[in-house]
Symmetry: C2
Subunit: 388 residues, 2 copies
């Protein structure tokens, strides 16, 4: 069992009508705020007007950067950094899902240095400082609202790379489940698959860590499986949206890791797919995960699947471990493809088989992913082939 | 479902040999540190020497306040406050269990005001400021290492009262499971009963909140039930001590509450017993809890017991709800009295029946505890009578 440091000082306002506290929080961090967001949905929903009113209430000056895309690009980050430097921005306010928040984290860090922000990604230049960041979450999925991570794409180099630093932790995040009422059935499904996979990447690990954290992860997985279909059926079901939203933050804020330090497997593979094909991250994960589970199952790993199958799906514990394991993979696939209705193959989303070697090579960085099971390029190629 | 604010910025170093980071953390907060502790056990174990070495490494000046008792007294707090003011202490370092940490929280607050610190308790004077506090935990039980609460006794008035304030949150806590290897079988049992009851006080609540948090609480309760007997049998079992320790913090740091705001029931009752009889808090709770569960069970509450029985104890869900409920209470009592081996009656710990009305009256403050079930003085008297 490894040691760890728990350090997640993000303050969260959870619930309906909590945005009235935004002005109080914003003005703690200065006078000039840069609001970042994606498309026009926050204008149509009225959220934009609420935000602007809060900035005015705080007596602060508002600047804006819109048009941050899903799978956000380094170009948006560069534009944001330029704006922050020119306008001497004090605090960033990201309103959106993971893409907007991730890009804004990179802007926050890039504004404190003199070099190109892509260096944080390509050269792994450590991030020591960042402008303070406040987020208003509009989609339960990536957990970026409560963690120190961000992922940005560079279409020129076909790279999609993550950064992580304590300085990137949002100071405050606003989680209002009613804001996610307008999230489409499809995006709700993709977000839920993303949350589920964040937990699986930690849970499936043969270095047994704290049992207590395994029980928490099992609870989070059960929560996603219980409420994702409810939210898809009844988009304005508060209970469902609230459970998915809070689960998304706790799936990946670091708490469930404890001392587990293993690299993830599905995420690096998916990043290489969406770096080329720009598919929705959660969908890519949904296609990969069951195949990865299938590929990693053997006598050395079966006990973890047994635990998963009996505790999360309630499979009869008196069955043989291998039977429970196989059934748990089937039930995972059934949840993703039938309950959530997600596409089950890469061919259906337009991925070409000839890109498999390149994607596999980049996913493992010409090395081995020492995750749940060691995966080299050949292993990843096989997993990707299973997705067709 | 109520709104809530999540705000727990405590940094935790978890694991063996993490104490080497103490000097780095301490010196962030000034030059003069007051070390607080209870009896001489930390001297016998060598922990005291480690702490002193860290203070020296930090180049700080060390002051000491020892002799903080279980069920800590306001007199210790007053002594500590005097010392802090006279010696211009910058930061407090509490090394101990809940009693030492709770008393030190009151010292931290008392050092920032001109009035008697008992006013925080008796007059509910709000706590706005406190000296920074770092803790080194030696007993998994109260969760004080990660929350904003403290309880102190006043033998003169036979009061035992709690305070709560954000300013009382420790800045940093060190949780080294190996430090708890020396905790006796009996104290391990009492501590585990305390952790379990903290969860029950939130879990048993008919205002359904986030399902996700219920799954977390069920996981925490299973963790305590799994590892308390292991730690009693094998005091130096790292896995058992680690699970109990981290569970103790998360049982009562506020996370599992979500939007639940109901007053607790067993704790105020127990406080009145230990205010007079000075029994161990966890033992008092262990005696009360099953009787409280029994007293509160009826057609309106049975669904919560059913959830508890099936999810925590794995009782057959096809049984009638009332059958599951009764069985879950029996199994709780069996865990506390047989597995943990705790005393099951108040008579055995010397409590006199004639004190029941006074204790009951004080527990509800001449009013009603609007908890899981409303409890007035007569109800509490009945619950206490069931404990004989």
């Amino acid at each position: 069992m490894n040691n760890f440091v728990y350090d997640i000082p993000v303050k969260v306002y959870f619930g309906e009508n909590q945005l009235g506290n935004l002005s109080t929080e914003l003005k703690k961090y200065g006078k000039r705020v840069l609001l970042t967001y994606g498309g026009g949905s926050i204008k149509r929903s009225g959220l934009y007007d609420e935000i602007v009113a809060e900035v005015e209430k705080a007596g602060m000056e508002l600047f804006e950067l819109s048009g941050i895309d899903p799978n956000p690009r380094i170009e948006s980050v560069r534009t944001g950094v330029k704006l922050c430097k020119e306008e001497k921005i004090d605090v960033l306010l990201a309103v959106g899902g993971g893409s907007t928040i991730d890009a804004t984290k990179a802007i926050a860090a890039g504004s404190c240095v003199d070099f190109d922000p892509w260096d944080f990604f390509s050269k792994r230049t450590p991030i020591e400082k960042a402008l303070p960041l406040i987020t208003v979450l509009t989609l339960a999925a990536t957990g970026s609202e409560m963690n120190r991570n961000g992922v940005v794409s560079n279409p020129e180099t076909q790279d999609k790379i993550g950064i992580a630093a304590r300085a990137l932790l949002p100071k405050v995040s606003f989680l209002d489940p009613t804001i996610t009422y307008s999230v489409s059935k499809y995006q709700t499904a993709c977000g839920s698959a993303d949350i589920l996979n964040h937990i699986m990447e930690v849970y499936f690990n043969m270095n047994q860590d704290l049992f207590m954290l395994d029980t928490v992860m099992e609870g989070l997985m059960k929560t996603v499986m219980k409420y994702a279909p409810v939210a898809m059926r009844e988009p304005d079901n508060y209970e469902a949206r609230a459970n998915l939203m809070w689960a998304s933050s706790w799936a990946i804020n670091g708490f469930v890791n404890g001392g587990k330090q293993l690299p993830w497997s599905c995420h690096p593979i998916e990043h290489e797919i969406s770096a080329i094909y720009d598919i929705t991250h959660g969908l890519g994960l949904a296609i990969i995960a069951p195949r990865w589970l299938e590929y990693c199952l053997d006598e050395t790993t079966v006990s973890k699947y047994y635990q998963y199958g009996t505790n999360v799906f309630g499979i009869d514990p008196s069955l043989k471990a291998m039977t429970v394991a196989k059934k748990s993979i089937e039930m995972t696939a059934d949840f993703l493809y039938n309950t959530l209705g997600l596409t089950s193959t890469l061919s259906e989303v337009g991925v070409k088989k000839e890109d498999i070697p390149t994607m596999a090579q980049k996913a493992c960085g010409n090395d081995i992913i020492h995750g749940f099971k060691d995966l080299n390029q050949k292993d990843i190629e096989k997993i990707l082939e299973m997705c067709f």
